[in-house]
């Protein structure tokens, strides 16, 4: 499903350009959840931005495809219509634009790009209600402007709400656990797990093992110095939690 081969990317321009991804290769087959762990500055967030097409990052080599389609040549909105979704580490405030308006605009834009019919207002509202319930979101919150005045935990839950509404094919969760208390973490994980399906893939970027107790990965990759230095099963995450990254980093050299 998601296939990344030998990806290199830089941030900054001219002499200030810094290589962040350095020959990263990774494959997430449909139906699987992979975790990416790694020390600060390893390139985890850069990977999520490069995959979703944020400006300011230059891809200098390699490929990234989703279901065979070249992601790197597409505009961010086209990647979204193709099914890429990023749950942001730092969700952005959009003053004056209510959550429901925003998500419905996004949903219809994606549907239009795919040549599908728009969702009707009653269908949209019904779906929104159901998902808000799963995530214990106050329906009043969905009438407020996107992320404005929301707590850190509310913002993260709103990311998952959007994800469940938009039903993407491939999800990248960037440090979704940061800023969540244990109850919120459990609620968020429930939402994420509800989206697990044989046709979907997921990349969970995290610092800590903790989230992986709730979202069980099929594989765990260690990202350091811009590439995957080790891949293993869920037990790898436990080892990292116990030993830190030093051991794994030393082995990789």
């Amino acid at each position: 499903m998601l296939k990344i081969e030998n990806l290199t990317a830089t941030v900054g321009e001219g002499e200030d350009a810094k290589t962040i991804l350095n020959g990263l290769s990774l494959a997430v087959p449909a139906g699987e959840v992979h975790a990416i762990m790694g020390p600060n500055g390893a390139g985890k967030s850069t990977l999520s931005y490069v995959l979703t097409g944020r400006e300011g990052y230059a891809v200098t080599g390699g490929t990234a495809t989703l279901d065979g389609a070249d992601l790197l040549s597409m505009e961010p909105e086209a990647r979204a219509a193709k099914g890429m979704f990023l749950s942001f580490q730092y969700p952005v405030e959009i003053p004056g634009v209510p959550v429901m308006t925003f998500v419905r605009t996004a949903m219809n834009a994606q549907r239009k790009a795919r040549g599908e019919a728009e969702i009707s207002a009653p269908d949209f509202i019904k779906k929104s209600r159901e998902i808000a319930k799963v995530l214990s979101l106050d329906p009043e919150m969905l009438k407020r402007p996107v992320n404005v005045g929301f707590s850190g935990g509310e913002k993260k839950r709103l990311e998952i709400y959007q994800m469940m509404m938009l039903e993407p094919r491939f999800m990248v969760l960037d440090e979704t656990d940061s800023g969540l208390d244990i109850d919120a973490l459990r609620t968020v994980a429930e939402g994420v797990n509800a989206l697990r399906a044989p046709s979907r893939g997921m990349l969970v970027i995290t610092h800590y093992q903790r989230l992986l107790d709730y979202i069980k990965p099929d594989k765990v990759h260690v990202l350091a110095k811009g590439r995957i230095i080790k891949t293993g099963g869920p037990e790898l995450a436990h080892r990292l939690e116990a030993e830190g990254y030093d051991g794994v980093l030393a082995e990789a050299v």
Binding site: T52, G53, R54, E55, G56, E75, P76, E77, R79, A80, A81, M84, F85, L86, F88, P91, V92, E93, I94, P95, G96, V97, F102, V103, T105, A106, M107, A109, Q110, K112, A113, P145, Q162, L166
Partner: protein
């Protein structure tokens, strides 16, 4: 307003925001609907016109007055203003730059030939009816329901039959006024000011120039000398005007100045909501527009005045466009009266406009809600004055400036609390949004306070349409142009909500069109 020498002046030039051009579907539709690329109202109507001789002198003033068959007192009023104007200097304190205006290069009167003779809508030439129809303003009453897509639907739920009476001003004359008879039954007088001078001379004489005196400022004085046409509204005691009233100003003729004059009076306990719309063809030379609007609200009366201004802004290089020098002022003459200005300013090469309220009556309320958009090379210097004279008077100012392209956008406002304005209150909020890296936003708030018990609040923010926001919205699948429109609409939402429903939709589309290509 020369007083606004820059107390507490904030200046922001925007940092780099990189965005690529693209076209949003809604924008395309809006533009296609009116068959042009960007400025959909830019067409020229080919019709035989009658002009005053080019230039301005006493004879021009006499010509205009004679054309309208005005009484002696009005001619004297005009001539007096003209002589005074000759002694005045054009103001230079606003943050706008334009080549010196040659006042002798304009026509001060232009009217479709035979315009004076239109007795009914059936006599108005088809070309003019077509012009308004093309702009979405049908003038036959049976067709009247502003041609705004989607508006009918939403408005219908709010009110049963949204109807809007229109006074259509074509260059220097009013060519048609709809729903007059029906309004008359309610006691509401709605007609062109030229007609009102003949039919209701006492009313006109009693109020004309009492809010904006002929000596007020350079442009207002010029207007007093050569004003052409505009709208007169009188709502009698206790009457709530049964429909929205509006004037649609169209500047068509080449090298012509339009000097409209509008006078609205709400007698005790009356209510009226009035809207003006403005467009002009795309022409290479600059056209001059210097209007005066006077509002009078007596005890317990309320006037809501909304403007959607879409004059031709000139091309990308700043060639052509309207010079818009407007004096608008409302007088809350009576106790508990209320005047509310809402403006959406997207057009004109130069905008110089400060709709103001004189809060004379005790407990009177003044409001100013503004969205000013500048793109290309447009320059806008706009804001308001709230003059608190009466006890417990309240005012509220919400201004949203959006700058894009190489434009400059200035908010300039005065809040003045006089000695007797016990317990006066003002709230001011000025927000600026910058799109791109070559535009400017400036805020010049000015406060004069002579009362220790006055409550004054001022908030100002300047934000850049951020890369973070754009990326976040696009990551959810929304294309770039639509993303900008969504963010801008969010930014102006609290002001859009102040517009009558029928026009909010139109204003929203206008914003999209105005900002098209702004992110290139």
């Amino acid at each position: 307003m020369d007083c606004c020498g820059g107390i507490d002046e904030h200046d922001e030039e925007c940092a780099d925001v990189k965005v690529k051009p693209g076209i949003d579907a809604g924008t395309v539709e809006a533009a296609k609907r009116l068959e042009s690329e960007n400025y959909s109202a830019g067409f020229i109507t080919d019709i035989e016109m009658e002009f005053a001789p080019k230039g301005l002198n006493e004879d021009t003033v006499r010509f205009i007055s004679a054309k309208k068959g005005e009484p002696e007192w009005l001619l004297a009023y005009r001539l007096d203003a003209y002589r005074r104007w000759l002694t005045l200097e054009e103001p230079t304190w606003a943050r706008v730059n334009y080549p010196k205006i040659d006042y002798q290069a304009y026509y001060y009167y232009a009217a479709p030939k035979d315009a004076a003779k239109y007795k009914s809508i059936d006599e108005v030439p088809q070309e003019i009816l077509d012009t308004y129809a093309k702009l979405g303003i049908p003038l036959r009453e049976a067709e009247v329901l502003l041609g705004v897509e989607g508006a009918a639907e939403t408005a219908a739920t709010a009110r049963e039959k949204p109807r809007v009476a229109v006074d259509a001003v074509f260059d220097s004359v009013s060519v048609a006024t709809t729903f007059r008879e029906e309004l008359k039954k309610a006691g509401v007088i709605f007609m062109s000011i030229s007609e009102a001078v003949h039919e209701y001379p006492e009313l006109v004489k009693k109020y004309l120039g009492t809010v904006v005196p002929a000596s007020d400022n350079f442009f207002a004085t010029l207007n007093a000398a050569v004003f052409s046409d505009g709208t007169f509204v009188y709502v009698p005691k206790g009457v709530r005007c049964p429909m929205e009233l509006s004037t649609y100003f169209r500047m068509n003729a080449e090298s012509t100045g339009q000097f409209e004059r509008t006078l609205i009076i709400a007698d005790e306990g009356a209510y009226v909501s009035y809207l003006e719309g403005c467009t002009a063809p795309m022409r290479d030379e600059n056209q001059l527009h210097a209007a005066v609007v006077e509002l009078v609200a007596l005890d317990d009366a309320e006037i809501k005045y909304s403007t959607v201004q879409n004059w031709w802004p000139g091309d990308e290089d700043g060639k052509g466009g309207i010079y818009n020098f407007v004096t608008k002022r409302g007088d809350c003459r009576g106790a508990r009266s209320k005047i509310s200005w809402t403006q959406v300013e997207t057009g004109s090469a130069i905008t110089w406009k400060y709709p103001s309220c004189i809060l004379r009556g005790d407990d009177s309320v003044g409001e100013f809600y503004s969205i000013a958009v500048t793109n290309g090379r447009q320059q806008a210097d706009t804001g308001t004055k709230m003059i608190h004279l009466g006890k417990r008077t309240k005012s509220r100012i919400i201004s949203k400036g959006i700058s894009a392209g190489k434009s400059d956008n200035t908010y300039r406002g005065l809040v003045s609390i006089h000695k007797k304005a016990e317990g006066a209150r003002n709230f001011t909020q000025c927000d600026s949004l910058l799109i791109g890296s070559r535009c400017g936003a400036h805020t010049v708030p000015y406060i004069e306070n002579r009362r220790a018990d006055a409550q004054l609040e001022h908030e100002a923010t300047t934000t850049k349409l951020s890369e973070d926001q754009l990326f976040y919205v696009r990551q959810r699948g929304i294309g770039e142009e639509q993303a900008v429109a969504l963010l801008v609409n969010g930014f102006v939402r609290d002001v859009l909500q102040e517009l009558p429903m029928e026009f909010a939709v139109e204003a929203q589309k206008l914003l999209e069109v105005s900002l098209e290509g702004s992110v290139g």
